[in-house]
Symmetry: D2
Subunit: 334 residues, 4 copies
């Protein structure tokens, strides 16, 4: 095992990277040669120690690569199959359960900052046809979170209005899935330049929340006072108050965000008066990842990759993520 040493005040901790060459698949397992990963806030929280993990835990929940060996009894995969990981490897289908949420790679077990990994055959799905490994590696955490928020929880329909926040991975995927499903999108960002890029991806309305801190009311006005059907909230306490202004009566706010923390006060009385659903969520099931792959193939939509780093540049990659300057996903390629 190699350790990518990283440090300085406020900087990144030690990151364990697995470079052993020859895991053997047990019965029911598959060995995958990892070819790409991508960075999520969850990975950042792990390597920074915000989420406690055992010493030497190999990080990164996302991985994409090719099958190199299959164990006894595995019928779903063959060598050379192009596969990607699951954030919740034990969640097959249906709603969330304690059993299904356990076993997150890169946190509760070793993750994909490794050249070769052995995983359970049911902990993989195929990647979209024609996609690169880096593209596929953007999907398991960020894209599936946005997919579940909009298509499973909010069940958006054509003509619905969706509000997204900023330009992180989840938010950009939320914009893309919302457009794919025929919704109108109100995109918010602190940068006019980024808003232009969101418009190019299909955003129908743009709000610079730096210039318009009362963006909840602005969004309400963009819907002629009716309100937004679904908000993919990534800001927590920092954004929920405005979101409760923006959301329509009976609408949904998907609470994903931890970027803004959860420590302040929130005007929850509005949620009661407006009959709003606040839906906490962490990613989704294998069944939903498969449905998302089908949707991506049918649509031709591709992920927005901000930048690519080599595996041994992982510390620099996290530094870039920390700077909050990215637009879309930061990838690792092996």
């Amino acid at each position: 095992m190699k350790v990518a040493a990283v440090k300085a005040p406020g900087g990144l901790g030690r990151i364990a990277i697995e470079t052993r060459a020859d895991p053997q698949p047990a019965a029911g397992e598959v060995v995958v040669r990892v070819r790409a990963s991508s960075l999520n806030y969850h990975d950042y929280a792990v390597v920074m120690g915000k989420i406690p993990t055992p010493d030497g835990r190999i990080p990164m929940s996302d991985g994409a690569g090719e099958v190199v060996a299959v164990g006894d009894g595995v019928t779903a995969w063959r060598p050379d199959d192009r596969v990607m990981s699951l954030f919740h490897p034990r969640w097959a289908a249906g709603g969330p359960t304690a059993e299904g949420l356990a076993g997150v790679p890169g946190e509760q077990c070793d993750g994909f900052a490794a050249e070769l990994v052995a995983v359970c055959a049911s902990a993989l799905t195929r990647i979209p046809a024609g996609w690169s490994f880096a593209e596929a590696a953007t999907l398991p955490c960020a894209a599936l979170t946005a997919w579940r928020a909009l298509t499973v929880e909010a069940r958006i329909r054509p003509g619905d209005v969706v509000l997204t926040q900023g330009t992180g991975g989840v938010s950009v995927f939320a914009l893309q899935f919302a457009k794919m499903a025929g919704a109108r999108v109100i995109a918010t960002s602190s940068s006019d330049e980024k808003l232009e890029r969101l418009a190019a991806l299909g955003a129908d309305h743009l709000i610079n929340y730096r210039r318009t801190p009362d963006w909840g009311r602005a969004a309400l006005e963009l819907t002629d006072g009716r309100g937004v059907d679904a908000i993919v909230d990534v800001g927590g306490t920092g954004t929920l108050g405005q979101g409760l202004q923006a959301v329509r009566i009976g609408g949904l706010i998907a609470m994903i965000g931890v970027l803004g923390g959860w420590s302040g006060e929130i005007p929850l009385v509005l949620a009661t008066l407006k009959n709003v659903r606040l839906q906490g969520l962490t990613v989704g099931s294998r069944h939903e990842q498969e449905a998302m792959v089908a949707a991506l193939e049918a649509s031709g939509v591709r992920p927005v990759i901000d930048s690519r780093f080599a595996l041994d540049e992982i510390a620099a990659a996290f530094g870039h993520q920390e700077s909050q300057k990215h637009f879309g996903k930061i990838c690792l390629e092996f």
Copy 2:
């Protein structure tokens, strides 16, 4: 009242047309100057006596026009508002009920083959911005049926596969709504020329069911054996058997169709074995019509109008419908 006399063996009956000029709105009512209507199989069944109605019943369930007067207590509408009718005027929202399904215009009460009608203020919705009356008049029966089948009952999502049958009004709208929602569409027709037109509207796969009578299996193969998520069935007994072949395990068949009748045998055991949902349905609620209008505005999609007739050419219009040569909707303009 004027009566458009029509007859010949197998031909159309007498059609009552209302041309009185001055209904007054009672409290809660609105008088609408009807500017357009459109033909549905339901209207044909009424004028042909397949659905019994009282003598002198004014036909046509669909109407679009402008408000000319409002009764006491009406706040929702003002003169000059552009409005369209509801197939189920008493169904506000939620699921179907006996109370909500009653009062279908053109059957259980007088319809829109009339220059001026007085209707309850809640029996109207606005029409999509920028649409002509003829375009709007295509929506209340056929489009709302397709909308409900796909977005309320099947709850299709991006990447789902939808199968449509032929080129009637419901089927063409189903194709358009399916594409709007990010689905893949398998379109079937007996004519290669019509299939080309369906492809131009976005159909992803085409099956000529005359050349491929075993089209259920063909559709199954187009989905790599997985099956179709939702079928908008308009053929009844004539198509349900093939549909049960085509549909995926756990999929949905919306049973709208009366074109093929319901008198033959159907292999329902397949519905049990495949855990299929057969959903009978007749149009939808006002709430859904409003949602459909929002979706149409957001998408820019316009209805496919096959042909336009003047109100006093109504018999010729039904004759054209009877010939089964149309593609999309046949409209009446006043």
Copy 3:
């Protein structure tokens, strides 16, 4: 108009009571002789000025009585029909909308502290067969809130676990509906004596939250660590933190409560990690009130009436409510 007597520091304000004898029904309206009402926190907030209303607003959202006259065009009701009011008179069915939530009696228009009222025919439902008016008057606000929380939003099933808080109207109805639906109930209260009464109504598990302030953990243990399926939260900030401990992964917390206010901090990160749904809600639709009446008739369950006051004792009734000593509903009888 008579004004009921009013009051001391911290006490109740002026309460308008309507005693005019002869409203006439307009077209579509019904005149009801009100025979009973009941007190809700909403009424208390109105009469105390916490919810601002115009001067002279007649309070009380709940009313039950008999029809004495019907206006033109009313077919649903006849004189002597036994009816009750709707909290949301314009919400027929389906999900909540701005239009549907408007027009709450006793706040946005005059309420039922009156001997005779004229209301829209669609703003009433029948009362359960064999019930007194006082019993029926307990239903429109408190019972329908509990009914919607459990059967519409949480969609509880036999074997689910429901947690209720205290002994107010909503909570006691929640206990009764949960048992009716085959659920297990964990009831919480600050009084052992009240807990005994909750046990007599069917509560399976009892927690005295005064002795067990960490009642969230206690509830979790009662479910062997799995957590509670649905919580009917009436305490807001004061209880939501413990509720998030108690609720299962993927469970639901119905946010009704305003008793504890909404001003403090809430550990919402738990909602995200546990994939919890926080559902704000205010009462329900006419369709649901009708379903609830059918359920009450089928079950034989009767409401728990804490005490009865005459209409001109209304100030004393609110004083009793303010003391928080009640168990179930406080009624007014005329």
Copy 4:
């Protein structure tokens, strides 16, 4: 392997029974000492050759027993755990899929007419606390079918009306679950004596369909013309026509039945006009079996066992089933 040889023209075929004493659990497997099974129509169809299976296939989809050994990697079970089988061992949760429906024991792989079986650890659930093995063995096929029909598909609520047909296993469980969920039940049977027994189990209304062949209309009248919310149909073509008369607008008919076959004509036009949902279904998922166990424990309800046979009396057991005289479940005890 022992073969229970059976029988005469129109009678039962050869039934393979497994009596080998020592299967070893592979990794991920569990060996169960089977202590009881129960008979379903599906088992009858297998042993009679109506469902083709390979020679020597060991029948019986239902099994209950105790764990005697666990393979590598199994953490869910330990020796002496009391467990029962799953009809769809590969269906973990969520909706039905091709993958999930495959692998039915006693048909697509060997079943539970065996003293010891080795099965995948995920193909078992615990049995209700305090139940005998024979009682538990009644659940995996018949009870879970009824549970899914009513609580997953129909989502019945208190006050709903459920109609059941006859006194077979599915129908008696449907009655029990419907009562558990607060529904009213209309029970139908051809025997007054059996109707009395159904009343004793909680049926609210009784129809002898021999004396009242137009039982659909009779059920409609029992609901004051509104119709039945959900029908658990076990008769197929023989009962669906009457069911379509009985069901309410927007109601559901669960199509389970194969007893009456599917070969006749069915007035499906009624399904369209009444907006009825016909839901085909075969049993359910592990997640639902676990929920059903919790519901049974909470309710105290026990299965109705018609009769018990020893394993080597299996032919007599099937003969009894064929006679259609049973009420509830026929069990095998080992």
